[in-house]
Structure formats: C-alpha cells, structure tokens
C-alpha cells in the first residue's frame, strides 16, 4: 500500500456557521446536507411505520383511527420514496460524482444548491400539513378520482404541490448531473472508464428527466380539478380515471429504478474493493444498467393488471416485465463473479453489500411473480406486494445505501465508522428486516389487504402480524445503533487517511475530507480502476503486486497551490427556493392564498434576478456558471 505522510489533523473545509451552510455551493457540503436531511426524514418515515405496525400488532386494535392510519401510510410511502431514499442517492451523488470523475464541482453549483433547498422546503411544506388540519391521506400514488374528492379539505393539495416542488428539484439536479458527467470528466476519464456508480447516476438522471413530466402533468390535472373546476377525472362527465394511473405509473415505474440503480452502483464499487478484484464484466454491468433504464419505461402497466386493460396489453406488459429481470440477473451474477475467488474482507460495508445481493434477489424473485397476470390478480393490493417492494426498497436501496455510508464515511469525515458497532448494526438490520417483511408474504397470500387499518380476530393473521411488529422494532433498534455510530465516530473514530480501504477509484486519491477544490491537481486517468493501477501491477500469475513507486501525488499545503477558482457562496438559491414554497402555501389555500402566491412570486423574482446578476466567482469572470432558465 502506498505510504505517504498524511496530515493527522482533520479540518472541514468551507466557512463555518449556519450562514456558511445556507449559502454554500460546494457539492460536498450540499451532499452532506442531503445526507442529514435524508436521515431525518428516514427517521420520521420510520416512526410512521412503527405506528402502523403498532396498530396492526393484533386484531381490532384501537390505537389509530382509520383517518390517522390513512395519513400515516400515505406519508410513510411518500416520505420514504421522495424524502429519504431519493435524497440518500442524491447525497452520495452530490458528494462523490464530481470526485469520482475528477472534477472540481458539479456543472452548476448554484442550481445544485437550489435543488437541495427546494427539496428540503418541499419536504417541510408537505409535513406542515400535519399541523394544518391533517396530512395527505390518498396513498403515495394518490389515485384520482379519489384524490380530487372533498376539495375543501386541502390535504391532497399539499400532496400534489409538494410533489411538484420535489419534481422541479429533481429535474434541476438531474440536468446538472448529466451536464457534469458528459462534459466535466478528468482527462483520460472516458465513458467506459467511469466508475459504475457514476454510470448508474447518469441512467437515473435520464430516467428522472423523462419520467417526471408525466406525473407533473397528472399532478397539475388533479390540482386544477380540485381548485379550478376542470373535469380531467370527473367520471360522471365522461372522464377516464385510468388516465391518472397511466400518467402516474409511467413515472412511477421508472421511479422504482431511480430508487434501486444508485444502490446497484454503490455495491458495484464496494464489492470489488473488498474482494480485491476488478468488477467482473464491467461493461455488462454498465450496459445492463442502461438496458434497465430503457426497459423501465415499458413495464408501467404491470401496476394495473386488475384495471381491465384487456388481454393484449396485459400480455405485452407481462412479457416486458419478465424481460427486465434479465439485465437485473446479469448484474447479480456479475457481483457473484466478482466475489468468486476474491480475497474477501468482511467489513461492515461489504456485509451490507452482500446483504443487498441476497435480499434484493428475494425481492426480485417475488417481483417476477407479479409479472404473471393471473397470479398478480390474486396478489394485487395484498401484503404480498408490500413484502415484495420492501425487499427491493429496504433490502435493496437501503442496504445498498448503508454499504455506501460505511464505505464512504471516512472520505466525508476523515474518520472511520466503528466496525464493531457497525456489525451489530448490520446483523440487527438484517434480522429485523427479515422478521418484519418475510411474514408479509404469508399474510398477503392468506389475503390480508393493504391500507386497511384493522383486521378481525381468528382469520389466521394474528401471529405473523405480531412477528412483523416485533421485527419493525428490531429495525428501530438497529437505526439507533447507526445514529450512535455516526455521532461517536464523527468525533472519535479512527483516523482514516486518504485511502483506508486500499480502494480502486480516484476519489480516494485526495484528502479525507477533500479540500474545497477536491484535487490539488486534476488527476490524469489512464485506466478503469485508476487508483488501483497507480498502486498495483500484475505478476505472471495474474495476482496484484504493489508497485515500488506508486503514482500517488503528495497533498499540497494551501500556500503551495496555484490559484484555483471556485464558485462563490450565494444565498440566492435558498432565497429562490423559499419564494417557491411561500407560493405553494398560497396555492394550497386558494382563493384566499393569492396574497401569499404574490409574495412568493416576488421573493422568487428577487432570487432569480440576484442569481443572474451576481458574478459566479467574485474575482474572476471567465469561469462561467449557470443561469436560471425560467423553468
């Protein structure tokens, strides 16, 4: 391993204090903000899940009213999808995407900040509804025409406006990531040398760009139906309620891949490092991800097999759904091929990655069952479906993200997470997760319906529901271990140094945590696993041998650096996002809210105007930045 004298002091770059964070345009700080916010919303969504499980612990429970239960399952789903899992991916992507391609920042740093603040304010906006007469209660999919009933009660307005806000935020960061990946790679970083995580984020960004507009249109239609008397979902006027289902799932199914592909990218980074082998079949993993991206747009109607689309459409979507299992299977075999014959190090990150493979495979298999139309018609709206998507979302996305957290935490903070607590965390998570969600397969097959707040005694549902509730509390305990680990290790964790895992990709070439400018000198990339090639060569038998002179440039002191222009901090992105959310509050309470819409629009205009007029870097006009394009 490379031995380079490392500084032992760890200092967080960037100006301190609330103002420093509020105005930051540094992709690493924005990534950390995303991370903390996602953790917060993950805990809130988890508490909602615990309340749901407490209500279902036994037959005929009285803890929650039907109304409260509806709000809780709606907000649990909405929170976990839009405010927890997507932002976790955004956190890693923000922090590591520029580092992994050898860039100094994302293409549009202020747009990046705007996306973050819009996400945070949008989440707070949706949650404020709990204190304003009740949270959204129409499910995370908000089926019309149910969602347009009772326009006087503004719950579903909060839902639709909140999702629109989050959608704008996602479009902004997706365009940003695509521009960054396509134009700002370090010299020699060809597309097929990019780390798989970067590839997956590229696919995810395109998925969001092309899928969000359909649900945006649906959300506008619901809002207009509720507030302006349009008839998009008025069945008695001849409108077609299935329109919403198509518009929603044409977004909603690509969204599933938006949630899982980042985790697949993360484990494709983690597994090679802890197997000390290059990723088996790199191009297959990349192109399987791209194939999933394309096919993800052709399977949405398998969410609608019971809506009476007719045999032709159902067969087509059934076949497409079976086909999409193929690229997914390719990836799983490639990960297994990477592990095969490797020198495994079972760190916590690796354990979570292995857990990901196992749990995601189970979820994938129950997913294939849903492609069989007669079988799906039986499972539709039962707990079997709940079991399936928690295996892919928790067993897949969350375990994958936790692998990423244990793997990258040292790069973000300079200190390692505690491995002993980490292993407790892993095993508790795995046991609690299976105890919670495996029984739901049985419950679903017995016939327990989803989104129903009570079940009667003596129909065979008691035992497994109790088991699932116990499991949910085991997961809750495991999350306490995670929080404890983060809090303790941030202060007192073992000093990581630049490259604690003997890793393969260039983000480990720079300091931990990296300076604001990321790299003292932009690395010139000559190989797929560039950092590994700098450290190791191969002997005659194909085994890695450490190079005598690893090509690891020494870190420079600040006064040794030449002039590096970084974008200046700006409060306009946060201000503009604030304006958007003020306007959203107004729109939720039309027509009296028009005043707030006006105030919000003025704040927005102030933000956009200041944004376009301020120089990007105060002392330097040549390095351009972005504009707000009026979207």
């Amino acid at each position: 391993m490379a031995t380079v004298a490392e500084p032992v002091t760890i200092k967080s770059p960037g100006p301190p204090g609330v103002w420093g964070w509020l105005t930051t345009v540094d992709h690493k700080r924005i990534g950390i903000l995303y991370g903390w916010s996602a953790l917060f919303f993950f805990i809130v969504g988890g508490l909602e899940a615990l309340l749901i499980r407490l209500q279902l612990v036994g037959p005929n429970q009285e803890l929650l009213s039907a109304d409260a239960y509806n709000q809780l399952f709606t907000m649990h789903g909405t929170t976990m999808v839009f405010l927890a899992v997507m932002p976790i991916a955004a956190a890693f992507a923000n922090y590591f995407l520029p580092l992994m391609i050898g860039a100094r920042d994302v293409a549009f740093p202020r747009l990046n900040a705007f996306s973050y603040w819009l996400f945070l304010f949008g989440g707070i906006f949706m949650y404020s509804s709990f204190f304003l007469g009740g949270a959204p209660d129409g499910g995370w999919f908000g089926y019309a025409p149910l969602s347009i009933e009772i326009p006087e009660v503004v719950r579903m307005d909060f839902w639709a406006l909140g999702l629109l806000t989050l959608g704008v935020s996602s479009i902004g960061s997706s365009a940003n990531f695509i521009a960054t990946i396509l134009t700002m790679r370090a010299p020699g970083m060809t597309l097929l040398r990019m780390p798989v995580f970067v590839w997956m984020m590229l696919v995810v960004s395109f998925l969001l760009i092309f899928s969000l507009p359909t649900v945006t249109v649906g959300l506008f239609q619901v809002l207009f139906d509720r507030n302006f008397g349009t008839l998009f979902y008025a069945a008695d006027a001849g409108a077609d309620p299935l329109l919403w289902q198509h518009l929603f799932w044409l977004f909603g199914h690509p969204e599933v891949y938006v949630l899982i592909l980042p985790a697949m990218g993360i484990v494709s980074e983690v597994i090679p490092v802890f197997s000390r082998k290059p990723l088996f079949g790199y191009s297959f993993v990349v192109f399987a991800g791209v194939a999933i991206g394309f096919m993800g747009f052709g399977v949405w109607s398998h969410h609608m097999f019971t809506s009476g689309m007719g045999p032709v459409a159902e067969s087509g979507f059934a076949v497409a759904t079976m086909m999409i299992a193929v690229p997914t299977g390719i990836k799983i075999f490639n990960w297994l091929g990477t592990i095969w014959g490797g020198q495994l190090r079972l760190t916590t990150a690796m354990l979570f990655a292995l857990g990901f493979i196992g749990m995601f495979t189970i979820g994938g298999l129950s997913g294939v069952l849903h492609s069989i139309v007669p079988s799906d018609s039986q499972q539709h709206d039962t707990y079997f479906v709940v079991a399936h998507f928690h295996y892919v979302l928790f067993g897949g996305s969350i375990l994958g993200s936790l692998a990423g957290l244990y793997y990258w935490f040292p790069k973000m903070t300079g200190r390692l997470l505690n491995e002993r607590i980490g292993k407790w965390h892993f095993w508790l998570t795995l046991i609690g997760f299976n105890l919670t969600f495996a029984p739901m397969h049985f419950l679903g097959l017995i016939g327990q319906p989803r989104r129903t707040y009570r079940y009667p005694e003596g129909v065979g549902l008691d035992f497994w529901n109790l088991a699932a509730t116990v499991g949910a509390f085991v997961i809750a305990v495991s999350v306490l271990f995670l929080i404890y680990n983060i809090v303790v290790s941030r202060r007192n964790g073992e000093i990581a140094g630049r490259d604690p895992w003997d890793a393969r990709t260039v983000e480990w070439l720079t300091a931990s945590p990296p300076a604001e400018h990321n790299f003292d000198e932009i690395p010139i990339v000559t190989a797929r696993d560039d950092l590994w090639e700098r450290k190791y060569t191969i002997d005659d038998n194909g085994y890695p041998v450490a190079r005598e002179n690893p090509n690891i440039p020494a870190l420079k002191e600040p006064d040794e650096l030449g002039e590096i222009h970084m974008p200046s901090a700006s409060y306009y992105p946060a201000l503009t996002a604030l304006g958007v959310v003020i306007a959203m509050f107004g729109l939720a309470y039309l027509p009296v809210g028009f005043a707030a819409v006006g105030v919000g629009a003025m704040v927005m205009a102030w933000g956009i105007f200041g944004w376009s007029m301020e120089p990007v870097a105060k002392d330097h006009a040549g390095h351009g930045d972005e504009e707000h394009d009026g979207d």
Binding site: R104, A107, F108, I171, S174, A175, N176, I178, A179, L182, T183, M184, A186, P187, G188, I209, F210, S211, L212, P213, T214, T216, V217, G218, F220, Q221, F224, F228, G229, T230, L231, F232, A234, A237, G238, A239, D240, L243, L247, E521, I522, P523, I524, V525, T526, A527, S612, M613, P615, V616, A621, G622, H623, G624, D625, E626, E627, D629, G630, D631
Partner: protein, 198 residues
C-alpha cells in the same frame, strides 16, 4: 494506454457555453414528455364535449393560422438575433431580440383574444373534459411563450447595459434553443389540436 494528446490540459474547465447547452437540451427533452402527456390527455378527451361546443363549432382556423404564422416568424427573427450576436453587433442583436419578443407578445394577445371568444361562445374550462384538456394544453404552451418573452426582454436590457456575456447569465443561444422549441411545440399543437379536429 491513453493518448494524452487527445485530452485537454488538466486544469482546463470545459467551455461553460457548451456545458449549459447540454443542460438546456436535457431540459427540453423533459419538456417534450411534458407536452406529450398534455397532448395525450387532449386526444383522449377530444370528443368528450358533453353539452358544450366541440372543436368544429368553436375553432376559428383562419385566425389561429394567422397567429401561428406570427409565432413562426418569431423563430426567424430569433435566428437573426443570434446571427447578429455572433457578429458582435449588439445594436442589431437588441433590435431582433425586441422584435422576437414583440411577435411572441402578439401571439399571446391572439391567444387571450381567442380564449375570450371561446368563453363567450360557451366553452369554459369547466364545460367538458374536451374544454379542460384544450385550455390546459394551450395554456401551458402560452405560459412557455410568456416566459420566453420575459427572457428575451431581459436579454435586450442586459445587452443595452453591456451585461450580455456568453459565459455567464443568460445567453442568446440558450434562449434561442428554448424559443425554437416552444415554436416547434406549437407547430405540433396547431396541427393536432386545431387542424386535425375540424
């Protein structure tokens, strides 16, 4: 292994004009799906007129043809603005920018007039699913034109105060891309929503 001669100097930041163009194309791709979804809704509901007037009774094709022609001509003036900007002729740039904005505003005025007529003839937004989908589709297009007019006007002012800079803030080429896109969308809408329905 790598032909380092092919790659740029390590410190060189890619030209921002290029980076922003990539982002703009991506955004316009997203907009295609947005208008596609609105248009699908319209096609689903085009015959659901209930008791209200339908397409054949209400559309005034000669009038809308004229306003469509005006919008198409604004693409020409946009090209001229861009061309003048490339020649660094800021006075001509301003003239063509203002011209484009005026043509866009004329189109908008036509749309307002048209909507007013339709409402007077009994086609309100809540009259029928046909009416709802028609107004929301063409209304969103109109909103896009309005945003374009604002950007064009802002650029003309920025050019006048010498703040129009290719690498920072708004730039003629980006707004041009947006403007042409909005025009192309109208060509599709005018054909599908108006011409094919009467």
């Amino acid at each position: 292994m790598t032909d380092l001669a092919e790659v740029a100097a390590p410190e060189a930041h890619p030209p921002m004009a290029h980076v922003r163009k990539v982002a703009m194309w991506v955004f316009l791709g997203s907009e295609c799906i947005f208008f596609g979804s609105l248009l699908s809704t319209f096609l689903l509901y085009r015959t659901k007129t209930l008791d209200g007037p339908g397409a054949e009774e209400i559309f005034n094709i000669p009038f809308t043809s004229a306003s469509s022609f005006i919008l198409l001509m604004s693409s020409l003036t946009m090209v001229l603005a861009h061309h003048a900007h490339e020649r660094r002729d800021s006075r001509a740039t301003r003239i063509w920018l203002i011209g484009t904005a005026l043509l866009g505003a004329t189109f908008l005025a036509g749309q307002v007039f048209e909507f007013t007529e339709f409402v007077q003839e009994g086609l309100k937004i809540s009259t029928s699913p046909f009416a709802s989908s028609f107004y929301v589709l063409t209304g969103f297009h109109g909103a896009h034109v309005a945003v374009g007019v604002l950007m064009l006007t802002a650029m003309a002012f920025m050019s006048a105060s010498g703040r129009l800079n290719d690498s920072e803030g708004m730039n003629v080429e980006l707004v041009g891309l947006y403007w042409h896109f909005v025009d192309v969308v109208w060509i599709v809408l005018f054909t599908v929503v108006y011409l094919l329905q009467v």
